[in-house]
Symmetry: C2
Subunit: 307 residues, 2 copies
């Protein structure tokens, strides 16, 4: 079924303990769409400026399942740019600079051809903007939002309003604590369910993810990756694999796309595709990733966690 994502496309400058990438293609929408495209078509709604390099457009074009009809190029504006530096453990990072560019302008519009989208992922941005997207997607069947500490701190009323309209929320471990004031992630997750969503996915980076669903709990380790070159986009590609596989599975008539079992299965796909993304800067690894490699690692992971 039709999957749509709205979020950022950025020009990133990333320093890790082992290398750096300067002015490389990044952004939540980018990583999400590239990962989701392995499972089926994905529609992208985002904006970039006149400075967006043609080769980045070519990179997006490489992912044939990504529909860029909702990608607005604003000639007189600048593309969102972000710089960050990872600490030695690769688990935390410091922001070096943020140039909002088009993000400070009006959000991009959902094109008429995308209005019938059924699966919706609201990648991380101001919850007011996220809610605004929903009004343009009247046929949505499953809506999942990402958020971050910034919005919990500066836009909590808007975030709480958004939570009443989504089926699922994806956020980091410490953000779940920040949102609820509860240190135990299961307790925090349950409290978030009381705010509206049917399920919450708590991301723990290299420690995996926890699913707190109205109908059950699940825990998944990350793939034990030895090759970690750049963690940027791990969470977004995880969400892309999750939503992409959900949308693919949701094509079955009568299937409940948001059921506990469906989400649990989808998280495995998210885990596996994210484990490839971190093996290189930008989309460099996802660009060369084949379906056979993805399937092989899925099977390897399944064998690892088999009880």
């Amino acid at each position: 079924m039709s999957l749509i994502v709205t979020g950022t496309i950025g020009i990133d400058t990333v320093y890790t303990p082992t290398g750096h990438g300067e002015r490389i293609l990044g952004g939540s929408c980018t990583y999400f769409a590239a990962a989701a495209s392995f499972y089926g078509p994905v529609r992208m709604v985002a904006a970039v400026g006149g400075d967006f390099p043609p080769e980045f457009m070519a990179t997006l074009g490489h992912f044939r399942n990504v529909d860029v009809a909702g990608l607005e190029v604003r000639k007189g504006s600048k593309t969102f740019a972000w710089g960050g530096k990872y600490r030695d453990d690769m688990n935390s990072r410091d922001t070096l600079f943020t140039e909002l560019g088009v993000l400070a302008e009006a959000p991009p519009k959902v094109p008429a051809s995308f209005a019938d989208s059924r699966f919706v992922f609201l990648a991380n941005t101001h919850p007011g903007v996220q809610a605004g997207m929903l009004g343009q997607l009247p046929r949505r069947a499953l809506t999942v939002a990402d958020t971050m500490d910034l919005w919990i701190n500066v836009a909590k009323p808007e975030l709480l309003a958004l939570l009443k309209q989504v089926d699922g929320l994806v956020l980091n471990y410490d953000e779940a604590e920040l949102l609820t004031g509860r240190k135990n992630p299961v307790t925090a997750g349950r409290q978030i369910l009381g705010l509206g969503p049917r399920f919450v996915v708590i991301k723990k980076g290299e420690h995996g993810a926890l699913l707190v669903h109205r109908d059950g709990l699940a825990a998944l380790p990350a793939y034990p990756a030895e090759k970690v070159i750049d963690p940027t986009g791990a969470g977004d590609s995880f969400a892309g694999g999750m939503m992409g596989s959900l949308a693919a599975a949701g094509s079955a008539p009568g299937a409940d796309a948001g059921s506990f079992d469906a989400i649990r299965r989808a998280l495995v796909h998210g885990t596996v595709v994210a484990s490839f993304n971190i093996e290189a800067f930008s989309l460099d690894r996802l660009r060369t990733l084949t379906r056979a490699e993805l399937d092989a690692r899925y099977n390897e992971y399944a064998a690892m966690v088999r009880v």
Copy 2:
């Protein structure tokens, strides 16, 4: 098959964010044996002082599978005592005091009736003492040791010598980094394999465990526990469940007790029994735990991680 553990029996004073326990029964050997006893008999080699309370002896006696023939009571000595305070996240703790008592004396001896033990767990103590135990256990078939940052820092040569004599090593995430200088736990684990053991179990507390085995990798999430009263003994009860279930499975003729599949399966038992231990101070939860509760949570956990 026969399982033996050597380690500490202590009188603990523990402060957690939600409560405290004063002069309660603790120690690595204690938690290990109580957990292992759910799977079969376990032999205990340890020493306590004349101050060891009779009610603690009764508590140990409650676990009918625990054989205390190797428990030395030294009338003129004092029992090891430890005090610690957990931080708000329950993942880290500060030591308030340590009174070595009998631990500063000669280590306890393996009684003649235990000399035929096949499965050996060397709970955390000086690696020289751990190695000394091995000389008294000539029929050992599978030997696993625990260690900690202290010994890596102050007794590294003895630890490296011990590693050449064990099949497996169990240690914490940050200790694996300290021992190898490698931040990636998979890389650190592989490096430890180069020091002798056939497998390494890297414990990550609430984030589960990683198995780096000569024949494969496995990752397990912790049971997503909402009731965490006292994390003390989580690692020891985890090891107890692991070794206890290994010893039970190893009774099958011709079985390779240290194979990748055997260890992977055993870690699930360790994960499940440890998840009960943290629900109360001391052995309070393991004392009331039933086989049916253990089996039910095992099945619940298996369903959670099923891919």
